[in-house]
Subunit: 461 residues, 2 copies
């Protein structure tokens, strides 16, 4: 064995790796005595500290045993784990490579303005060896200080009234809904918006729960249909109906609250999925903020405002449900890692979240204005539905092509667009007047015109 | 307004905060023109770059509008969010303060040897502005490279045979079980070990699923009882039965596999929760490794080997179940944040995990040896059950006191111990011969003797 001073690998580590390999390969037998530190240091022309550091590491990991006043011996290797570190073949990351040059996805966020350096710095500070919270199971409902920050944020930005105790942090709408399915009466029937968020029917089916799709009019979900459906739990997106982009007026909100108050056991689940992004007009108070009788379960997430890869969402339980939650569901431990919860709490408390939101709202407003101008100019027959909010708009192309044709022709030119029909419940005929959901969050401002031009070419008769 | 060069706050930030506050408080009205950069710089005796940086930040966040060749104007503040940043009152972190001086918890990990600096460095590297994975929804089953690392680890350490495609990453046993409940036949009946992991009955009850408790003999779960129970899915902990500490011999493992092969639709869920920590003897292959017919669903976690606060667990699905999983459950997005998945993947691939495990095994072995010696010396009538594995042992105190009495007397002296009865299903009489679960992972070696002495004093007649 020779130690090299040129590889950049510390000497003690070279020695450690060498001896470890010799032991694993059986060149040393168990109980064999190793050379003394002094002798080995002389042989290798290194310091005794180097040998000592390598030996100690090997003792720590169970390869050697140190016997007082006698020296170092090779241990029985019974339990010692050795994982072959052969460079792993790149696993095929299916579906990751962008199959399309342009993707009008409504799910992503802007790729260029995430505050990476702040997040990195805060994370680094949070990973603190003296913080025992990082080594034990945390609060089942989520880190209390983060819940306090979220409560304060919701109060200021959405008029939501709640105490931190009412908040449950989790990592996705599916998981929050699964908790609610377990919490609410097992014979509950859920009403969902039609068209609506396409995962809801999957979640309810998969959890073997009954649901009914309820249609919309120009003010949002139809109260008479909700009533007729026999449902007792209603899932709605009043701030920016998904996918139509409607904002529910206060009158309809009050009607829904009346419906909920009408019978015991009725609840409204308000999913405020992209409420941060509203570009004009005064905000309308959340349903939760209007609710006087604890009928609204409010849900939010950081997927749109920060990143979907962070996997942080939350709900606000009415006081009436909180006790049952604690009794029956406190075995469900908050799935968000403590490091990430603490990082987000500091991000919010130090004002970074407020600044990021204002910046992103401004940026997304510009993206929306750009795509609207581009559509008016390049697709003159098309109609834009939906209000000036959120990260997508609804486009009725109006050139006589069906949805399927629009999607396929766009794909042939390398542009991915999303048809409205996948958000409708029940059997849907291919509509003569194709309607699309066009997301703009992931597109750069300077590529929006070209992207719309691609659609215009694709859809030219 | 005066800029101070002594506060340590950058000048542009002072200016930004000042103007923002003025705008929010209404001292500037909307559309009001701000002083030119040159003029303001002269007034404040700072550089024009400072003013420009502050103005640009305010434009970015939507407080100002910049008009070409005209200057900066106060924007309409419609949508701009301002969160009151009043220092939050410390929320009461209930139950967090250690009520006991000594806690023989079986759930925690060692507090002093987590590789914080490595984890910090890797996390810092992973938070990379050029990595778009951090800004989009990841693979529903978990980051593919991490799944490959876990597959390789399981192969080397546990004899588990699987492809990365078979792995589903999630953040806790509860969540994995919830996925399985949705995946397996809805009329499935689950058999659980009695005594066993106390959360299983809660999970099954909460998900409205039938289960049966099956008792153990000296080799583990009784096959005749499993057969009689009518269950088709069996949950077991063969490597280190929780809580009794039994290791299931190969003969019983083969009997269980025969049971599973006997009828279609039968499965075994093998929870290998602390299999990393085995201190003597040759490891017995996992049930999954013995299984020839895809009947075993293997589960593991990083809660014991790294930290429960990381919230990372996984399961290995048999090929037969994989297709159904992808068809019906791919809407369930992996709840672990991408940053954390990538950090763990690098931690494993760069060899840190192997080294940490070997080190911790060595450390926990020493803790176990110390607590065993202390018990023999200080509680001479007590019997230790369970094999030399895991992070807890089972203690039959044998001094005639009941479990309740033992727990209460220990508590009175500031020591928290856990009675066996909470892990038993069905009505349990307070046993005349008190049996306890004694965890030792969170205790430092040098405090173990004193901790056991506390028990010995508490339990003296």
């Amino acid at each position: 064995m020779r130690l090299s001073r040129e590889t950049g690998v510390p000497l003690f580590e070279q020695l450690y790796e060498f001896i470890k390999a010799e032991i694993i390969s059986g060149h040393f037998s168990s109980n064999e005595r190793l050379p003394s530190k002094r002798k080995l240091a002389a042989d290798l022309q290194c310091s005794r500290n180097t040998v000592e550091a390598a030996y100690n590491q090997l003792v720590d990991e169970g390869y050697l045993i140190s016997r007082a006043k006698s020296g170092y011996y090779v241990a029985e290797l019974d339990g010692v784990l050795s994982i072959d570190r052969a460079r792993q073949a790149e696993p095929g990351e299916k579906g990751r490579a962008p199959a399309h040059a342009v993707d009008f996805s409504y799910q992503g966020v802007d790729f260029d303005h995430f505050p990476f350096s702040t997040w990195r710095k805060l994370t680094k500070d949070v990973i603190d060896e003296y913080d025992r919270d990082l080594l034990r199971t945390g609060d089942p409902q989520g880190y209390p200080k983060l819940r306090a920050s979220i409560a304060r944020y919701l109060h200021h930005s959405r008029g939501v009234n709640c105490l931190p105790e009412q908040i449950v942090i989790s990592s996705g709408t599916e998981l929050l809904l699964q908790l609610l399915i377990q919490l609410l009466d097992r014979h509950s029937v859920y009403a969902i918006e039609n068209p609506g968020y396409e995962r809801l029917p999957m979640i309810f089916r998969s959890n073997r729960v009954e649901y009914r799709a309820v249609s919309l009019d120009e003010d949002g979900v139809r109260v008479d249909e909700v009533e007729r459906s026999g449902a007792n739990v209603l899932c709605v997106t009043p701030s920016h109906q998904f996918p139509t982009g409607l904002i529910m007026p206060v009158s309809r909100r009050l009607q829904l609250l009346n419906w909920a108050n009408d019978r015991p056991g009725r609840y409204i689940i308000e999913d405020d999925y992209d409420s941060e992004f509203r570009y004009s007009g005064k905000p309308i108070p959340s349903l939760q903020g209007l609710d006087q009788h604890g009928r609204v379960i409010y849900m939010g997430a950081f997927s749109k405002s920060l990143s979907p890869a962070l996997r942080i969402s939350y709900m606000v339980l009415p006081m009436e449900l909180l006790e049952g939650y604690r009794e029956r569901l406190s075995f469900c431990i908050c799935p968000v890692p403590t490091i990430e919860q603490k990082t987000l709490q500091r991000f919010m408390d130090e004002g970074h979240f407020e600044r990021h939101l204002n910046r992103m709202r401004n940026l997304y407003r510009q993206k929306r204005e750009t795509i609207v101008s581009a559509i008016r100019e390049l697709l003159p027959g098309a109609m834009i539905d939906g209000t000036t909010a959120g990260l997508h708009l609804v486009l009725r192309v109006g050139n006589g092509m069906s949805e399927t044709e629009l999607v396929e022709r766009a794909a042939a030119r390398g542009a991915k667009v999303y048809g409205m029909s996948r958000y409708r419940s029940g059997p849907v005929a291919d509509e003569a007047e194709g309607t699309l959901i066009l997301g703009f969050a992931t597109l750069r401002i300077d590529e929006i015109y070209d992207a719309v031009r691609l659609l215009s070419t694709a859809w030219a008769a």
